[in-house]
Point group: C2
Chain length 138, copies 2
DNA sequence: TTAAGTGCAAATTATTTGCAGTAAG
DNA sequence: CTTACTGCAAATAATTTGCACTTAA
């Protein structure tokens, strides 16, 4: 079964300077096809691919996610050891992390106000401020 | 100024309810022996052990760091994928992370003021808020 | 045509585990 | 003594890589 490809995903790739190969379009569709933001791991995306009936190898899923990141299409978040999450929302925003399920989701950026940030050493520039709010079900 | 009767490191272990074995005392000494806070990885601690002339296996370094964490003596921080840091400063405080060297260090907690934190879902409790300020040399 | 992209299997990295031997209480 | 701890080597998990094959431009 082939997933219908809308021109949107191709655009998303081409505008970032990437060649819209079959596999990339398939992954792009699963990532941003419905316009919703999501937090994916390589493994979870690979599972989605197989469910969709398309075929992209696990190695290519890994490599493609990396490529999408360096093209600025995704943002990598490593909140928990050993596993990387890829966020389709590339703006700098805080996250909720559910410790039991290891699920990551967005926290409303407008609700976080950092009044004062520790001053970085003079010789450094701040590239990013990661805020992860760890949650446990009660 | 008083000279402690028991070595500090043994105390540190016993008060946390841990048996002060030779290996644990060796690691405790390297971690908190000089009263300074530090951020260690299993690998870097293992290297320190070997430099000190003592012998603790890598597996035991890993296992012991984990044991120290669950005893509340250390705090695990996973800022970068794939590698865990262990902080001897167990208070909740922000960190600077040097992207080039992958070095982690404390940022002054009193300089971080979060005016407003995104509200956690009603069914959840916040276990921790991780703030990592990523730095790059300029 | 041809450089870029892909798939597979093997390699790597960080970490954990099974189990037999050792040591602390 | 006896139970927890340790060391080793093998196992695991997430990810990367080498290389021959394929495909988009």
């Amino acid at each position: 079964m082939t997933t219908p490809i809308l021109p949107d995903e191709t655009d998303w790739l081409v505008q970032a300077g990437l060649r819209p190969t079959k596999q990339r379009v398939t992954l792009a569709h699963l990532l941003v096809g419905d316009g919703q933001h999501r937090h994916t791991t390589a493994e979870s995306l690979f599972t989605s691919v197989r469910k969709s009936g398309d075929a992209v190898s696990l190695a290519t899923v890994y490599n493609t996610l990396k490529v999408f990141c360096s093209a600025g299409l995704l943002r990598e978040i490593t909140v928990n050891g050993a596993k990387s999450y890829f966020d389709t929302n590339i703006s700098n925003h805080p996250h909720f992390f559910w410790e039991e399920t290891e699920e990551l989701c967005d926290a409303p950026a407008e609700d976080l106000k950092i009044a004062c940030l520790p001053m970085a050493p003079a010789v450094a520039e701040v590239t990013k401020v990661d805020v992860v709010i760890r949650l446990r079900k009660m």
